[in-house]
């Protein structure tokens, strides 16, 4: 049973639907993360999907309450860890990685697939951090079409402390900056999937405090769920895209509430 304090709030879930990501710091001691990083340093080759077998302590990260609380909130109680996972080791001198979505885009109003990006060591700006573009998760854009982009207003480098896990919508656009430091940057990516639709909210939902009314005269009032879903615009896109995003987010929210069917 997950303690309520580890579950997301209504506004955090709404922000996830807008931004496409949520970061959380593991509740494990730093020594656990450093031990994992040292084991990664010692691996003779990338084991691919077998990274959990090669470094079994990674399971502790996935099972720690701070991480399971986010997963439970967004995917329900019986979410599934998929067999695909990957250790991304960015060596000193490695260049940037172009924007992409993993696999093929399955843009839908159901949010069923998630990535968890785990950083066992602190990532500084010069270590080639993952860079994400909040708000791009609903875009049906093949990766090849992203080849003429380099930088966006609103892009976010995941410069994070050791033990951070970033849970992202599967289709969120991401890339990396170049590693200009003398240190390796470790990231292990895990893939999660919802196994069934929600019949009720699976986070710290407070139906009485959720404001479903939109105050059109106060679009800057961003801490109500209705306003976050309606007016959040991390990329600063134009009005037409904002309308579409609003519709998609509302459907996602209703689906998570269990009201979609």
């Amino acid at each position: 049973m997950i303690e309520k304090r580890y579950l997301l709030t209504d506004t955090e879930v709404a922000h996830f639907l807008v931004q496409g990501y949520h970061t959380v710091e593991s509740t494990l001691p730093l020594s656990v993360h450093e031990n994992i990083a040292c084991q990664l340093d010692a691996l003779p080759e990338n084991p691919g999907d077998a990274i959990l077998e090669s470094v079994p302590e990674l399971r502790q990260v996935l099972d720690c309450p701070a991480v399971t609380g986010v997963c439970h909130s967004l995917m329900g109680s019986d979410y599934e860890l998929k067999s695909h996972r990957h250790w991304h080791c960015k060596q000193p001198g490695d260049g940037f990685m172009q924007w992409h979505q993993d696999s093929i885009n399955q843009r839908d109003t159901r949010i069923d697939r998630f990535l968890a990006l785990y950083y066992p060591r602190t990532v500084t700006a010069d270590m080639g951090p993952t860079v994400i573009v909040p708000g791009t998760q609903y875009r049906n854009a093949p990766t090849d079409r992203m080849a003429t982009y380099s930088n966006f207003r609103g892009q976010v480098p995941l410069v994070v402390p050791a033990g951070t896990v970033a849970v992202t919508h599967h289709d969120l656009w991401h890339g990396t900056a170049a590693n200009r430091s003398s240190a390796r940057r470790h990231m292990i990516k895990f893939l999660f999937r919802r196994t069934r639709s929600n019949t009720e909210p699976t986070w710290n939902h407070d139906s009485e405090s959720v404001d479903s009314q939109i105050n059109w005269g106060r679009t800057d009032q961003m801490e109500s769920v209705a306003h976050i879903l309606s007016f959040g615009n991390p990329l600063g896109v134009g009005g037409t895209d904002q309308y579409k995003e609003r519709v998609i987010r509302r459907r996602c929210w209703e689906q998570l509430l269990g009201e979609d069917e």
């Binding site: 700006a125 573009v133 079409r145 982009y149 380099s150 966006f152 900056a177 600063g236 896109v237 519709v247």
Partner: protein
């Protein structure tokens, strides 16, 4: 009579600027910017630091001497419920003498 090929240092080269704007209007705000310099080995890259963009709109770039060589394309099929790429892509050029 002999001719001398012009030095690559004296022939203007095409600098390219991809601007991704919120609408097809040149006055709309820019969401994304990619500058491609005609220099060997040059690759625009994702940066961590704020790239300090020189322009807020495509019009700002026109004022600075850039010329549009391709306007946003609308020939693709269109779905008013779907979202695809970010912004409307303008491609601009400046012909300039560039040092390697």
């Amino acid at each position: 009579m002999s001719s001398t090929a012009p030095s690559s240092q004296t022939v203007p080269r095409q600098r390219l600027l991809y601007l991704h704007a919120t609408t097809p209007s040149v006055f709309s705000r820019i969401l994304g910017l990619t500058l491609i310099e005609p220099i060997p080995g040059h690759r625009p890259e994702i940066t961590v630091e704020d790239p300090q963009w020189p322009y807020d709109t495509v019009h700002d770039a026109l004022i600075d001497g850039w010329q549009i060589v391709q306007f946003p394309l609308f020939q693709a099929s269109y779905d008013d419920r779907d979202l695809d790429v970010v912004g409307y892509e303008f491609i601009l050029q400046k012909m300039e003498i560039v040092d390697d």
